[in-house]
Symmetry: C2
Subunit: 327 residues, 2 copies
């Protein structure tokens, strides 16, 4: 099934969306919000599945036409977002550009940071940024949403805690990163609010494309309407989602509704393009000694989406414009 | 007024607690949970204040006797926790112990990291840790809880966004920190779940002890029943809470209920003791070349509390035992 949230209130209103992404029905009878459904998933999930089946069978005459502009983030706010960096080609290139080695541990111990979860932009909301000098970038990633996961869970058991799958545009302010990371405490100002995909889906929606908690499909990014990249999320992922969830839960339980991110999708094959500007610039630095592609400007647009083998859009399209923020 | 939460459900049940911390009444008529009250503070606050006044005047015959064991964290889960490190003596000592300089920018640009907020331990809950080898430590800090705060707010305007004040035991796993920070992405496994004080209070409860968004009182820590430290939270705080909130909000708005922490309270005067074991060990390293005080073991207890000039306990006492976690 595919779940989303209509705008309204701080947590939106939970809806079930048709597989074809064109119709929806309210799920209010099951839970007012997606977080409420996740808080009581064993009860809520079968009832939501029932609505989903009836909707896809054309049996819900009360179904409305889906307007993507009316969608909030499926989780307008969440209690935890832990973002990994599981695609080593991304890490390797970024390090190579500055002449640094990739530590051996990076191949056995996932990179992951505590990200902001207090507010996710809607999938069509503008991205407000105060200054172009911040070095505005997008990052196209896959995310999962977990159930309650016990502390110190094994990767094997963590797989069962994955309830939903989606996409994220993890907005990054590149020029704030070096200074912030140099302080040693990780990202904060350099990672503003991000946007999840219009819907999150249960793994069964992905069929054979979801194997071993890895999503085996290309993720497409278009910048200002032009193709930017389609790296395959199923290739070069050093740690699968079960391993990422287990890493996140090593010393703390995860609460229902925790979001765990894959990191920017990147493949060894550079012909497939990239999922963020930083990486394209890194390839330019490696090739020419300096980057030629600028970061994003006010008015620039980014589109992120994933299609299955049949060409069907799975999660809906993230489509955002960078907007000057005036305080 | 003083607000807390009784255990029950994922978000607890909001209560108003008497100034003397011995009685309480349910605030269900105003909001089911503290987060719900924060979500609608302009409406909820005056009604909660009214309950508080009646309770302190002895006019609530329905008041119950407060049992600290029955308390959940005032915010059992929150959407954001941004923890600063505003007491420079702490930073200076830790760096001095390893022969490193404190960068000049640390005096003008706050240190702050994105912390976990998905679950706070109750004020009397044990702290579950899988291994003593992790180097278990407490950190006694002051926190504030904010209203909605706009992105890029000035420090002056940020002051008005501070709604509640409390304490936190920011549990730290010291032996996991070097390896984790070396990866460059900040704390994650080294910072498990923390515990807030039994109640959070509005700044007016603090009277003249709350000046310029700094809390001017000593914070007392007792380890295994013995005095450990009483540094004054009003001394050596390099950045006040308004500045910390403004730092947190530079590139993103803060949502109602965001927790901003001061960092471990530490004074230049070492005679007042410390607010974490790491700092005591650093002083031992500086004096003797090696630490003699061990980190915490299973069964060790920590007590954290703040008294006003009249000797009254303001926030209630955080009192926790370290417990072996078996998965």
């Amino acid at each position: 099934m595919k779940l989303g949230s209509l705008k309204g209130g701080r947590d939106g209103h939970l809806i079930v969306v048709s597989r074809s992404l064109d119709r929806y029905v309210s799920a209010e009878e099951v839970a007012p919000t997606l977080q409420a459904a996740l808080d009581d998933w064993p009860t809520a999930a079968p009832r939501l599945q029932q609505i989903s089946r009836a909707l896809d069978a054309g049996q819900r005459t009360d179904a409305g036409e889906l307007d993507f502009e009316a969608l909030a983030s499926p989780l307008p706010r969440a209690f935890e977002f832990l973002d990994g960096s599981a695609y080593l080609p991304h890490v390797e290139r970024v390090r190579r550009a500055r002449g640094a080695e990739v530590p051996e541990t990076f191949y056995t111990d996932p990179l992951m940071y505590q990200a902001t979860s207090a507010g996710f932009l809607g999938p069509r909301d503008p991205v407000p940024v105060a200054s172009e000098e911040y070095g505005i970038d997008f990052e196209a990633e896959v995310v999962v949403v977990t159930d309650d996961v016990p502390m110190a869970v094994s990767a094997e058991n963590a797989a069962g805690g994955i309830l939903l799958v989606g996409l994220v545009n993890d907005v990054s302010l590149r020029n704030l990163i070096p200074q912030e990371l140099a302080k040693g405490f990780g990202f904060l100002q350099s990672k503003p609010r991000s946007a999840l995909s219009p819907v999150l889906v249960t793994p069964d929606e992905l069929g054979e494309d979801w194997r071993d908690t890895v999503l085996h499909l290309p993720l497409h990014s278009h910048l200002n309407g032009e193709w930017f990249g389609s790296p395959n999320a199923g290739e070069d992922m050093q740690f699968n989602f079960a391993q990422l969830v287990a890493h996140a839960a090593k010393t703390r339980p995860l609460a229902a509704g925790t979001i765990v991110g894959s990191g920017t999708i990147a493949n060894q094959d550079t012909a497939v393009g990239a999922s963020c500007l930083a990486e394209k610039r890194v390839l330019e630095i490696i090739a020419d000694g300096k980057p030629t592609t600028p970061f994003m400007s006010f008015g620039d647009t980014i589109r992120i989406e994933m299609l299955n083998a049949g060409g069907e859009n799975i999660f809906g399209t993230i489509e955002q414009v960078i907007q000057r923020y005036e305080s």
